[in-house]
């Protein structure tokens, strides 16, 4: 039984540690904020210029000058601070953010990530994703194990244009979790979703990994 979107977010939240500064991408990564362990202090960074992102506002209290990187209305906390985009990416590029959770279209066995472009089809742009994977200490990817038509997404090489080369540390899919201790090491299977067998996992994965 594959993990649900919320279960993926819950699994990614296990990577958080007390005192971490964290940047969450759009989509499932955003849900990770709902599963921060009680009592753990995690500061969420929004790359458009805020540290200490608060929850969504109560109805009627939305402020158009206060949005996150997904352009959603948010709130500030007593600990919040605001800054420019160049300061924001200084934090990101400079290695001051402990962990980032992002979505993906493809991940390669060497840790390459593709999540921003489908040539000739999707033209949206990379936003801050290339900076995040280049600068954040630990990059966690959350994605569906295969595409809707069954095509493999964890494969020997990415076919789509890269967001970053050799940047993924932990891969969480709806079927399994793969990690590597450093960026020279191969991915190691860590966990599998309930009822998923190694045989099924291998049949849906063309990337090499240690089981």
């Amino acid at each position: 039984m594959p993990w649900s979107r919320n279960e993926l977010a819950m699994r990614a939240a296990k990577e958080l540690r007390d005192g971490f500064y964290v940047n969450l991408g759009i989509g499932i990564p955003t849900l990770v904020a709902n599963y921060i362990a009680p009592g753990m202090k995690v500061v969420l960074q929004s790359e458009n210029g805020m540290l200490g992102m608060g929850p969504f506002p109560f109805e009627g209290e939305e402020d158009p000058d206060l949005v996150n990187a997904g352009k959603q209305t948010i709130t500030q906390l007593p600990t919040s601070s605001y800054f420019s985009s160049s300061d924001s990416f200084g934090m990101i590029r400079g290695g001051h953010i402990n962990l980032s959770v992002l979505g993906a279209m493809e991940v390669s066995e060497g840790g390459d990530l593709a999540n921003w472009m489908v040539p000739g089809k999707m033209v949206k742009g990379m936003g801050g994703a290339m900076d995040l994977v280049a600068g954040v200490k630990k990059v966690v990817i959350v994605m569906e194990h295969t595409s809707k038509d069954g095509a493999h997404k964890f494969k020997p090489r990415c076919e789509l244009p890269l967001t970053g080369a050799n940047v993924v540390d932990l891969l969480i899919t709806d079927l399994a979790v793969f990690s590597r201790p450093d960026r020279q090491a191969p991915f190691q299977l860590l966990e599998m979703a309930p009822v998923v067998t190694l045989e099924e996992l291998r049949s849906k994965t063309s990337a090499h990994f240690k089981a």
């Binding site: 929004s46 969504f56 949005v67 800054f83 936003g127």
Partner: protein
């Protein structure tokens, strides 16, 4: 009023004598947050064409820079993300619009560098990707860095919360974003503000953009500030 005043009555007069076809412009904001609404409307009404616009996003179909795409005034955009604008995607895929994607942090730093007189910088961002193609790279301690150059424009359009007649600016919350760097990266920065006050009113310790960077300033009117994704939470039942 001294002849050196920076204060103009409105967006149209602030753009006067500055805007012409083929200009390179910077326009502040992230999504529709902190964009120079008044100046974009006045720019549309000026009819200037073949513009190159540096802006993190391209507005939506019906607001912000999207308005200038509709009227085909923009020839080229330099942006990091344009996913909210279908007209943009259509014009780009059909070849009517040129587009240069920069990673968001690289874009911010290119503008900062441009304004600070720095030719370029080496960054890890984009190494091994399409972004690095055709650019000089350097390997330091086994890591590859890409040379990105500073970016300047003919005119910068920025939006602040408060400003004084000297051009000192204070931004509000996440509406700051790209505005401070853009204010520094052109010889003709025009600022629109929600509140325009006399010198001495703003605390000098709280100024985000010092007045040296701002050549013209006016009080904007009729701010719409559309919210792209209105997200709320329910109040706990009493």
């Amino acid at each position: 009023m001294s002849s050196a005043t920076k204060v103009f009555p409105d967006a149209a007069s602030a753009l006067k004598g500055v805007i012409r076809d083929g200009l390179t412009l910077m326009s502040g904001g992230f999504g529709l947050c902190g964009i120079p609404e008044n100046l974009i409307l006045a720019l549309r009404d000026s009819g200037a064409k073949n513009l190159t616009v540096v802006s993190n996003n391209a507005g939506t179909d019906n607001f912000g820079l999207g308005l200038l795409l509709k009227t085909r005034q923009i020839k080229k955009m330099i942006s990091s993300y344009v996913g909210e604008n279908q007209e943009f995607e259509r014009q780009y895929l059909s070849g009517e619009l040129q587009l240069e994607f920069n990673p968001q942090g690289t874009l911010a730093e290119r503008i900062r560098a441009g304004g600070a007189g720095i030719f370029g910088f080496y960054t890890r961002t984009g190494a091994g990707t399409l972004v690095a193609e055709g650019k000089e790279t350097r390997v330091v301690n086994g890591e590859t860095f890409v040379l990105e150059t500073g970016l300047v424009a003919d005119v910068s359009l920025v939006k602040a919360w408060k400003g004084d007649t000297e051009g000192n600016l204070i931004y509000r919350k996440t509406a700051r974003n790209f505005n401070p760097m853009m204010a520094s990266a052109s010889p003709m920065t025009i600022a629109e503000v929600e509140e325009l006050v006399e010198p001495g009113t703003l605390d000098p310790d709280q100024i985000h953009t010092p007045g040296i960077f701002v050549k013209r300033i006016f009080r904007g009117v009729n701010y719409v500030k559309p919210i792209e994704n209105r997200t709320v939470r329910k109040r706990a039942a009493a």
